[in-house]
Symmetry: C2
Subunit: 153 residues, 2 copies
DNA sequence: TATCTTCTCAACTAATCCAGTCGAGAAGAT
DNA sequence: ATCTTCTCGACTGGATTAGTTGAGAAGATA
C-alpha cells in the first residue's frame, strides 16, 4: 500500500504544470526538477510516460518544455497515478474484480473492491488544479478535518 | 497501490482461523495452506509474524496449530495488514502525516492523508469474522453495491 | 524416556521492481 | 549551423518479493 517515488514525482510535476497553466507556455524539465527537488533525468523519463498517456504535451528545442495536454481542472490525481503505475489497486497483479477465493475467504474480494472504491473516491475527485490552487474538494477536506486522520497508525 | 501475496495470504489465513473459532481448537498450518492454496512453508512464516504481532496464538506438538489470539470479531483486516506490511500508507516509506513539499505541491500531503483515511475507513471496519460469516459491514456493502465498483478502471 | 508431531527461526535464492544514470539522437528555434 | 530541449533505450546497484530449506525447540503420547 505504498506510493512509489515515481508516482509521487509524477503527481508533483503535474501539479507544478497546473500552476504554470495560466502562462500558456511550456515549462522546462530543468525547472520542474529544480522546483520539486527531483532528479532531472528520472523526472524527464516520467514526463515522457505522461505524454504517452496523453496527460502532458511536449515541445522540443529552445522555448520547448512540458505542459498539460488538458485543462488542469480535468486532470485528476487518479489519471496521473494510472498513467505511471497502472491500475489503482491490484492483488498480486490481478484486479480485485477478477479474483476468486475458496473456503472461508470467499467474500474477501468484496473487501478489496470496496478498498479500491474508497481510493477512487478520493483520487478521482481531486484534480491537479485543485492542489495547485489550494481548493481541495470535499472528498479530501472532509477526511483531513479530523485530527485523527493526521495521527500515525 | 498493490496488495502483495504475503498480505493477501495473511488475511485469508486469518479469515480461515475466524471460521474455525467456534471449535475452540487450533488449526494446523497444513490445513490452512491446503484450504487456501498457499505454499505451506511460506504461510507458516507469515503466521509466525502474526503471532509476534499478537494476532495469532500458536501451540506446538501433536494437537498444536494456530488460532486467533483475540475474538475474531475484534481482529480487523487493517490489523492483519499492518502486522505483515507495516503502515497502511506510505509515500517512499514515509508516513503521509510527516511529508512536506515545496512549491505548487505544498498541499499534496493532504491528499495522501485523505487517501490513507479512506483506506482506514474500509479496512478498520471489517473484521475477519465479518468475512468468514458473510456479514460484511456497511463500510464495505455501501461501496460494492454500485455496479461501477466492479468495473475495471 | 523415546518418539512423533507441529511450530520456529535464520539463512538462502531467483526473479522482479525501484530509483535512478547515461548517452546518442531527433526536433525545434534562431 | 548551432544551440536548446525533449526522446528513447540500455544499463546498474540495491531493495523487495515470493518463496525454499533445514536444523531445532516444544508439546503430546505411550
Amino acid at each position: 500500500m505504498r506510493i512509489t517515488a515515481k508516482a509521487d514525482y509524477a503527481v508533483r510535476a503535474a501539479v507544478e504544470l497546473a500552476a504554470a497553466e495560466k502562462t500558456g507556455r511550456p515549462v522546462k524539465g530543468e525547472y520542474l526538477a529544480g522546483q520539486q527537488g527531483i532528479p532531472q533525468n528520472f523526472l524527464e523519463n516520467i514526463l515522457t510516460e505522461l505524454r504517452r498517456a496523453g496527460i502532458v504535451r511536449t515541445r522540443r528545442g529552445a522555448d520547448g518544455g512540458y505542459q498539460l495536454a488538458r485543462p488542469a481542472a480535468e486532470v485528476t490525481v487518479a489519471d496521473v497515478l494510472r498513467a505511471v503505475e497502472g491500475p489503482l489497486a491490484a492483488v498480486q497483479g490481478v484486479r480485485p474484480d477478477q479474483l476468486a477465493y475458496g473456503g472461508a475467504a470467499e467474500r474477501l474480494p468484496e473487501v478489496w473492491v470496496a478498498l479500491r472504491s474508497s481510493l477512487r473516491e478520493v483520487l478521482e475527485h481531486v484534480s491537479v488544479a485543485d492542489i495547485a490552487r489550494n481548493r481541495l474538494p470535499a472528498a479530501v477536506k472532509d477526511r483531513t478535518r479530523s485530527k485523527d486522520a493526521w495521527k500515525a497508525h
